[in-house]
Amino acid sequence: MPPALAVHALEKRYGPVHALKGVDLAVQEGELVGLLGPNGAGKSTLVKIAVGLVRATAGRAEVVGARAGSRAARAQLGYLAELFRFPGWYTADEVLSLHQRLTGSEGGTAERGRLLELVALDDSRGRRVDGMSKGMQQRLGIAQALVGSPRVLVLDEPTSALDPAGRRVVRVLLEDLRDRGVSVLLNSHLLSEIELVCDRVAILRAGEVVAAGSPAELSRPRGVELETDEGTRTIDGATREDVPELVAAAVAAGRRVYGARVLTSTLEDTYLEAVGDEVS
């Protein structure tokens, strides 16, 4: 069974700019993978190659075993672009209807109603796009990406225009999709969002993957902080399991122990460590 989405040694050059320098990444079936990185790291380029909007200079990208950009690949894919717009004179229902025809979906009114309900737009079915807020349009964009029940969903900054309630709707939706076996590649600047929903995270910097793993793996232990009558000191490399021994050793050495705290790096720490001084 091929991965839902896979890129191998992917390279992209825009003239003198080397946007991607041999990226390897795979999204397995039912997996939710987050892409992180500062502006210009190559995240959007990677996403655009995966959905066939941009041609790779070298390497390959595949969607369920089909070459990215091919008709077979596009038939498996749902995509929400970072910068997108629907014709302002279309209603929400008409936007979904148009995409149903383009994907060959036979879901009809029932599918449109279900999708609008999923993104909390069921009461805006007849509302025209130019009468919607940015957040509503973004949620409609997510519903559009889900037309035809794609096996792979690629979302480029899907919550950038959403308020906290809207983000929660999307987070719950993503978890629901994962439970139903849909694979998701999520490109987002919001670390907290990635940390909450993603099974794995890849951090890009200057066109290369500089860190990858589950949020738990990336949030690795950094040591134990021990507070005694001599002050506070950090024991690097120590873990939660080392705490009783460290405390016992301090007491045996005649120290009075006031507290011990296990230090773990957050995804944010790992991200900042990985991207160095680049500002996102």
Binding site: V54, L83, P87, L98
Partner: protein
């Protein structure tokens, strides 16, 4: 799928009031044209050619007025064609309208050719309708029709379809504004080359005629328009034909089936190039 995309383009044009503008301009033109035709034919008997020159006044006036109508129809048809297609790729991509459509299984070739077909259908109907109304006005006001009334209209429509293909090709590589400017300048260059050909013919300048021929082959919408003009005055002989040839609606030096076949091949090549470039273009 093709009909869906054609309908999408059509609705966009309706929304952008392209049709409203064109219908208003066309109505204004047709009213003025009817007035001009009415007065020209009602006072035709008072016009006296110079002594010794035998001119068929009715044929001269009818062919001249129909030539004028063909020029206006071509111009309005090109305006409609350009505004329907100038932003089909770059313009829509810049606005973020294109990306959600391109990632669908429909395919880039189908998407582009459907937009072409939609615009071509609208423009063909438009050009034939305006040309037909102009013919009817001349027939009613002056009891004159050209020897082969259908062919010039079809050639005009063919010319506009070539402009649509060029505009779609331009939209792949140029921004919407740059594309609109480029197509209108090409259109203007073609018309000027045609007029130069007439002047060259009157002056007996083979160099100017040669330049005009090259322009007609390079821009076959102009060649089709010129061939249409030639057809409406093809029955005029003697001084009448000579005077018509001297005028701005004089007719073609490149004409016949050769240029029609070339125009069809040119159209296919422009579309093939547009599809080839669009399929390779990063969005």
């Amino acid at each position: 799928m093709v009909l869906t995309i054609m309908g999408y383009g059509f609705r966009e044009a309706v929304r952008r009031k392209v049709f409203t503008v064109v219908v208003l301009l066309t109505a204004a033109f047709l009213v003025l044209f009817w007035l001009a035709t009415h007065f020209v034919f009602s006072r035709l008997s008072t016009v006296t050619p110079p002594a010794g020159i035998l001119v068929d006044k009715r044929t001269f006036a009818g062919a001249f007025l129909l030539g004028l109508a063909m020029f206006a129809t071509l111009f309005l048809g090109v305006v409609l064609a350009v505004f329907l297609t100038l932003g089909v790729v770059s313009g829509d991509a810049e606005r973020g309208l294109l990306q959600p459509l391109v990632v669908r299984p429909v395919g880039r070739s189908t998407l582009l050719l459907s937009r072409f077909l939609g615009a071509a259908l609208v423009c063909i109907v438009y050009v034939l309708a305006v040309y037909g109304i102009a013919l009817a006005i001349i027939d009613v006001a002056g009891s004159w029709t050209p020897p082969s009334p259908a062919e010039p209209g079809l050639e005009l429509a063919g010319g506009v379809v070539i402009v649509i293909a060029l505009s779609i090709l331009g939209s792949v590589v140029l921004s919407a504004t740059a594309n609109g400017i480029a197509i209108f300048m090409l259109f203007g260059a073609g018309l000027v080359a045609g007029l130069l050909g007439s002047i060259g013919h009157a002056l007996g300048s083979t160099t100017i005629e040669h330049a005009s021929r090259i322009a007609a082959w390079a821009l076959p919408f102009e060649a089709l328009y010129q061939d249409g003009l030639r057809l409406i005055s093809s029955s005029a002989t003697g001084a009448t034909g000579f005077l018509l040839q001297l005028g701005p609606f004089g007719g073609a030096f490149v004409h016949g089936w050769g240029v029609r076949v070339w125009a069809a091949a040119y159209l296919c090549a422009a579309l093939a190039l547009a599809v080839f470039l669009f399929r390779r273009r990063d969005l």
